[in-house]
Subunit: 169 residues, 2 copies
DNA sequence: GCCAACCCTTCCGTTCACGGAAAGGTTACA
DNA sequence: TGTAACCTTTCCGTGAACGGAAGGGTTGGC
């Protein structure tokens, strides 16, 4: 995936904006605090990012995407850090797999690696869909209550209408 | 759910069918601990439930439903207690409104009360739908990645197929 | 080569959402 | 009239998820 600026224009996803970011820059971009990012690394949600000469953390575009995903899982899906780690666990291997993928030319091996990645994604999808399902149930229940209430109101309106009629329009 | 063989299902507020439950019974039914329930009451998520002679908390069917809803908001939607309280805040008024509803015969007043309840439900629906939307976005993003990965695998398979052919079947 | 603005690790503090024990009162049942 | 099994409030403890300060090193621009 790390395409040198040479031949195929296909996967030139990262060329100029690929300058490694420092922690505060990532934090601003993603909407987290540096403290949280360090904490997530400590908790094992991030593979050890690159470091500068003087041990500064350096983040690439993949790290940023990963952190966005983490933030989504935390804020939108409401997963705990432990759950997120479980979800991303296979993905730690993915990091290695990515290198292994680039390192080999054997299609069988490459296929095996891609299959692993796919399994991981499927697992994440299953978790999210489960949460989605339960949320949809809640929405459905609320919609039912709403319909019920609206029904009652219509009833009352009908009664009022009859009453108005009975009292001579 | 626990429907006694009474006739009007409308406003049978105090019915011998739903014998008041004690805290541990509710906890078991809903899937919470007594401690959590007390905590939620302390945090203002429950209107002060009825109390027995000796100050035991007594819960009716509405309390149980409310607690189920709270649990759903907590576990499924991942809302914090503060957010849940905000969501249910108007519903504190609902409790009073329910009594007011039973206390009046004026259809106009009753309609007004129902409208208030409806507004509250709409607010809750909006919150849940917002969360739902963001979750769906995440699922969509994952599905895209999955499709991408599957595409890559198909590519590899095609290459392998060609290779097999070239090497004499 | 200097300095402001970052960054590092370490450690203690804090908020949230409860858990759990203490000390005592209540209920239901024999 | 016990008595076991609940319940009450009060208070201190805890794990998760950070916040923030201390003490010190690093970068980058002038």
């Amino acid at each position: 995936m790390t395409q040198t600026p040479s031949d195929h224009p296909v996967a030139v996803a990262i060329d100029p904006g690929d300058a490694p970011l420092r922690i505060h820059e990532v934090a601003d971009r993603v909407g987290l605090t540096p403290r949280s990012i360090r904490y997530y690394e400590e908790m094992g949600l991030l593979s050890p990012s690159a470091r500068s000469q003087g041990a500064y953390r350096l983040f690439d575009q993949l790290d940023v995407e990963r952190l966005r995903f983490i933030k989504g899982l935390r804020d939108d899906a409401g997963f705990s850090i432990a759950e997120i780690r479980a979800l991303l666990e296979d993905e730690a291997a993915r990091r290695l797999a990515r290198e292994a993928f680039a390192a080999t030319d054997d299609p069988v091996e490459r296929r095996r690696i891609l299959q692993g990645r796919l399994d991981s994604i499927e697992g994440q999808l299953a978790s999210l869909r489960s949460k989605l399902g339960r949320l949809e149930e809640m929405v459905a229940a609320l919609e039912k209550r709403r319909a019920h209430t609206i029904g009652h109101m219509a009833e009352l309106d009908a009664v009022a209408h009859v009453a108005r009629k009975a009292s001579g329009r």
